[in-house]
Amino acid sequence: MTLKWTTLSLAAACFAGIPLAQAGTSFQRADDNAAQSLAAGMGNAKPLLLQRLAGNARTTLATLLPTVCKSACDSAKREMRGDALHVSGDGWQLDVSADGAMAEFSDDRARARAHDLGVDTAAAIPAATLEAAGRRFIASRLGGVIALRPGEQLVPEATYTRNEGGVDAAGHRAAERTTAQRIVFTREIDGIPVVGNGSKIAITFLNDMTVESFRYDWPDYVIRGSAPAMAARDVLLQRVQSVVGARTGQPSANAITLNAGAATVDLGGGAELNRLECGYYDAGLPDRDASAPVQAGCVYHAVHSAAGAVVTRAGYAGAVPAALQPAADARWPEENLLRGQVVRAAGDPGVAFAQ
């Protein structure tokens, strides 16, 4: 495979008239990291091997309960749901993972007001306002559970909108309205962002700035090993091309050409890479092997387009390891695939499906 930069200009990438997905609005820092990832992979970064530390759900609950419960907290209903602790009170619910690193809160009364508080999409809350409100909320309400070690930094990643719309039988469409907005923060460790669902805090605000919900996956990390050598950018793109080809069943060995200024990268086989974000890869508590280290990786979002009389699209998301010789991780599908050990998940119907 050869890689080269060209100066071809590319209009907005399209698939048969369907515009490229606009998923949220990234902060400049996140876009810069994505651009850097595509240009240089991990660059000069030297990420260590880290380990998520297991905590305790009851300790987390004791910290969070005064934050989310306004009255009659002693009478809040507590029950185990799977291995998570579920607590519900008058109009609110809170779930805390068994290891205490992950929690989700919903204020159902606030949620019920969202529709009536809707505003024209053009009047949505600016990103800077969301960032400031999010930081205040984390500092004032989540300070007991969102800790930063030396060298760690809380950085905003992107904002997202929940919109509503409608149309009547005569075809008259109502103007789209924004009913809630969500800001996501991530963590940087010595300047290296954590990518994936781990180390994320999502806070949802109504238009009157009431917090409708929040969810975080915020473990403590400790150093488990020294920094392994990183693979070059070209190798990372080859890995993405390889796993996307394996997932679509339409592998390609085409040379990858990076067009300066283009929104996507052609991976061959009908697939295009929309975004690449490298850093420490933490898939998030529900999707990772607790015994595996947190190590360098690159999250990819790719789209396959099947041409024909009608066009279908399919999105593929995941992450490839960034280390030249990554540590084994039984629950990291791409790491398994690239190592030649494809894991078939429970639920594969196999031959049980008749044709």
């Binding site: 149309v167 593929y316 008749a354």
Partner: protein, 267 residues
């Protein structure tokens, strides 16, 4: 293919209670719900006419089995089938119940495959080469168990534009209450979306909220959507708050009784 059962149940401990589907009573006005849930999904396609929808970890199968298993913890586990020769199971009235895997043979039908749109239809790829199911040919909620909810983990089928009514009215005209899907991309690779969606509904969240949150939290770049109908705008927004507890008591609207279509989206 119609009438020749194209599917068989997988080993999920599926109850073989086939007889009741075609004789099920209309939905009783009760909060003691026993939602009948069925799934049909497809990861690989005949002669690779569509891209596979999974890696070695089989995220499509994992998503669907996760959904069906989690749904079955509180509701009625009807079936989990593939999409071999299944176009008719979406487009035609149900005549033979769970054994045929028709969308109208259950209250909540979950599907995952590749999706798309035309100017008049949302479409889903079947396993069979060149075969799509088209919303313009569908009318759910009118036969057999009378489907109330269609959940579709597929890209673009709930695309929002001036043709959204045209694409979805035929389906809703049969009486279906709500559909959930993607108004843009829904990424493969986070199979926990299936079990999370079911668990949230089991835990009392509204069906729409369960869909929006499970899809978005799995991947922040997912673009989930919820579409419902009502006699008018106010009625539509009220009905969009339907949950397991309120699904059966929700009045059925068919044909000209539908005066409004409303949607909620993330991203």
């Amino acid at each position: 293919m119609r009438g020749a059962s194209p599917v068989s149940a997988i080993a999920l401990g599926i109850a073989a209670t086939f007889a009741m589907a075609s004789t099920a009573p209309a939905h009783a006005a009760t909060s003691q719900h026993s939602i009948q849930v069925g799934s049909r999904c497809q990861q690989d396609f005949q002669n690779n006419w569509q891209a596979d929808a999974g890696l070695g970890n089989n995220d499509m199968w994992a998503r669907c089995s996760g959904f069906q298993s989690a749904a079955a913890t509180t509701e009625v586990n009807a079936f989990y089938y593939n999409l071999h020769g299944a176009r008719w199971a979406l487009e035609d009235p149900d005549t033979c119940g769970w054994g045929c895997g028709n969308a109208d043979s259950v209250d909540l039908f979950y599907m995952s495959t590749h999706g798309g749109i035309t100017s008049t239809s949302a479409i889903w790829a079947m396993w069979d080469q060149g075969s799509f199911a088209y919303t313009q040919n569908m009318r759910l909620g009118a036969t057999s168990r009378q489907n109330m909810v269609l959940a579709s983990f597929a890209c673009d089928t709930h695309w929002i534009d001036d043709s959204t009514w045209t694409r979805w009215y035929p389906v809703f005209a049969g009486g279906m209450v709500m559909t959930v899907g993607g108004h843009d991309l829904l990424y493969q690779g986070n199979p926990q979306t299936g079990s999370d969606f079911a668990n949230r509904m089991n835990n009392g969240e509204t069906i729409g909220q369960s869909w929006l949150e499970s899809a978005w939290y799995a991947d922040n770049r997912n673009a989930p959507a919820v579409i419902a109908t009502g006699r008018n705008s106010t009625d539509c927004w009220n009905r969009q708050g339907v949950s397991y507890n309120t699904l059966f008591p929700t009045p059925i609207l068919r044909d000209s009784a539908i005066g409004y279509m409303c949607w909620s989206t993330w991203n």
